[in-house]
């Protein structure tokens, strides 16, 4: 009753919809970085949308199943292969005991979500099966998968052949536009720097993981001069250590913006120029290094409209799969 890891891929971990409620002691929410893809993968194989599945980054794992299950792969375009034969993404397919699931090269996006009927049945940690790698918490032994790991599978029965049509999936734009509500310590930079920040095209840096995404290529920010407050530290980008929102855009030394994601460090001493809106968090999960991206300023009202639209798109997809 398990799935065996033959090869782990680049960085594959068990995730679900996360464990909110512990950020005040530094434990982030976690969970699938692309929550839409996480929920849909589970629904395609007949699971609860918050069941645990595998999140694979840039490169897929090779898995062997010791029981018959239904599998679906969503998120980035990472083509699944069953015993060497290609299968479609966003569509559930049957797997027999002894079958091997591997993956072709990534054709789009950055992260694939591999759901198995019954869900990955690792123990709950603080109410979630998500792997928090920095804190060695949850998932399979609190870490990314290694060759030889065996993951238990829960009870469940899926139906093969269910799929989500392309028009119900989320569209990716190019260059990617990340909508952001300016604020928090926005007032620390000059007007010209703020204007340039939104005008310039940035590029995803190789340092892009579950904690956060770093961007390069724009002009360093100019700060408004001040005497640094007591306890803040000497760099103009330093603040008295404070909480970091999910999606917050910090700019250490004013050079390379970092957008914090689901495994965010919960606080620190760098100023933030604003926060990427909740509706665009999934989009970040699917950005590959070197992808051009722009930050687009929005108001709180626009952020809330975008959130409602995102919720509606998810509801349409879930309704389609429930039908």
């Amino acid at each position: 009753m398990a799935v065996k890891v033959i090869s782990p891929g680049l960085s594959t971990s068990v995730q679900d919809l996360g464990r909110p409620g512990h950020y005040h002691v530094g434990i982030p929410e976690g969970g699938g970085m692309d929550r839409f893809a996480t929920r849909i993968a589970n629904l395609l194989v007949g699971n609860d949308p918050g069941a645990a599945l595998l999140e694979a980054t840039f490169m897929g794992p090779e898995l062997e199943f010791t029981q018959a299950v239904t599998v679906a792969v969503t998120g980035g375009e990472l083509p699944p292969k069953l015993n060497g034969e290609e299968r479609s993404t966003w569509e559930s397919f049957p797997v027999k005991a002894g079958d091997r699931l591997s993956f072709g090269y990534l054709k789009g996006g950055a992260r694939a979500y591999i759901a198995v009927s019954g869900g990955i049945d690792v123990p709950l940690a603080l109410g979630s099966r998500s792997t928090y790698i920095l804190g060695a918490l949850g998932g399979h032994e609190g870490r990314t998968l290694k060759a030889g790991d065996e993951l238990p599978i829960g009870q469940g029965s899926g139906r093969a052949g269910r799929s989500l049509p392309a028009n119900l999936r989320r569209a990716q734009s190019a260059p990617s536009e990340l909508r952001m509500l300016p604020g928090i310590y926005w007032h620390r930079i000059t007007e010209a720097a703020g204007k340039r920040f939104f005008e310039e095209t940035w590029k995803v840096a190789p340092e892009a993981d579950r904690i956060g995404y770093r961007f390069r290529g724009g002009t360093p920010l100019e700060f408004i001069e001040r005497e640094q407050p007591f306890g803040a530290g000497s760099d103009p980008s330093n603040i008295v250590d404070a909480c970091y929102p999910y999606g917050s855009v910090q700019v250490p030394s004013g050079t390379e913006p970092i957008v914090l994601h689901r495994d965010a460090v919960s606080g620190g001493g760098y100023m933030m120029v604003g926060v990427v809106i909740s509706a665009d968090m999934d989009l970040i999960a699917q950005l590959q290094p070197h992808t051009p991206a722009r930050f687009v300023p929005v108001t709180l009202e626009e952020a809330l409209v975008a959130r409602v639209e995102g919720n509606a798109a998810l509801a349409r997809a879930e309704e389609y799969l429930a039908g």
Binding site: P20, G21, Y23, H24, V25, G26, I27, A125, L126, Y132, L134, G135, A136, L137, G138, G142, M180, L181, G183, I184, P229, F230, G231, A232, G233, S234, N238, I239, V240, D241, A242, C243, P245, Y246, G247, S248, V265, S266, G267, G268, G269, M272, G274, V275, V276, I277, S278, A279, L300, A303, L304, R307, N311
Partner: protein
């Protein structure tokens, strides 16, 4: 003093009590977060106090951002006038200063430091006006510290020493962060001490290590079986400087899961503290020493 509120995207409200660090600001932030917790507002998902600020996360599908903001603003006056008295606890933490592990790490990353020719301890002692490393350590472990924030990674406390501002120890972070810091390192950046709960990257000056785990995701350590993180904002911590022999003995006791830190319930009044800092601290430390 009025709190500067700001929306952090559509899911957070960030409240800055003051730009600079002070115990008064920390207390106002803690009063605010305690009030939010007590109000049990539907849609609030995370309540995080920080050093001189705080953050509330909410689900905007359940709670309109402007409604939460209005509610927080209505709490502000009460919080700033709240009697700054805290029922808390004091925890004694053994620390082996000048240990070989942080020393080795400090030498390995010397080129990222402000002063490659001295150690982190020598540099910090000098810029803070202490003649010797020993005097610096005596100041570091002589007076207690407030846990003014827990975070960055799981269970990592930020500590602010309970002395007047002129006596606060300050040190810059490394010029470029290290890629490695030993687990349970006592570090210092700005005016804050920190204890690295896990091994990893870091930029704080490194002074010593504690043998006592402060985060245990497996909950096997006896004193971390209920809560996997030892520290909460508002805790008071007293470092006890120990020798290599004491470190080894304590380490052995911890391995056998027989050891636990000395923890005493206490009440802290900011008003009393401001009136007599060292007298207040002495009373707190007497609780630990079992008088």
């Amino acid at each position: 003093m009025s709190i500067r509120f700001n929306f952090g995207g559509d899911e957070h409200i960030f409240g800055e009590v003051s730009e600079e660090m002070s115990l008064a600001s920390f207390f106002t932030g803690l009063s605010m977060t305690n009030a939010v917790r007590a109000a049990n507002i539907k849609g609030v998902t995370e309540i995080c106090p920080a050093n001189a600020s705080f953050q509330i996360r909410f689900n905007p599908d359940l709670l309109a951002p402007q409604d939460l903001l209005a509610e927080l603003q209505s709490m502000e006056e009460a919080a700033s006038k709240a009697d700054p008295v805290l029922k808390t606890r004091i925890i004694e933490l053994p620390v082996y200063f000048q240990d070989p592990w942080t020393h080795e790490t400090c030498l390995r990353f010397r080129e990222r430091h402000q002063d490659p020719s001295s150690t982190d301890l020598e540099y910090s002692a000098r810029i803070n006006g202490y003649a010797t490393v020993e005097e610096f350590i005596a100041a570091y472990s002589g007076q207690p510290w407030f846990v003014s924030m827990v975070g960055f990674v799981a269970g990592l406390p930020f500590l602010y020493q309970m002395v007047e501002r002129q006596k606060q120890i300050q040190a810059p972070k490394y010029l470029r962060p290290r890629t490695d810091t030993p687990k349970l390192t006592i570090g210092h950046g700005g005016c804050f001490a920190a204890i690295y709960s896990v091994r990893g990257a870091g930029g704080y000056q490194m002074y010593g290590v504690t043998p006592a785990p402060i985060y245990d995701p497996a909950r096997k350590v006896r004193y971390l079986s209920d809560e996997m993180c030892l520290f909460k904002p508002g805790d008071i911590v007293k470092f006890k400087s120990i020798s290599r022999d004491e470190y080894d003995a304590t380490f052995e006791e911890i391995e056998a899961n027989r050891w636990q830190p000395t923890v005493r319930e206490c009440t802290f009044s900011l008003t009393d503290f401001n009136r007599d800092i060292y007298g207040t601290n002495a009373k707190l430390m007497e609780l630990i020493n079992g008088r």
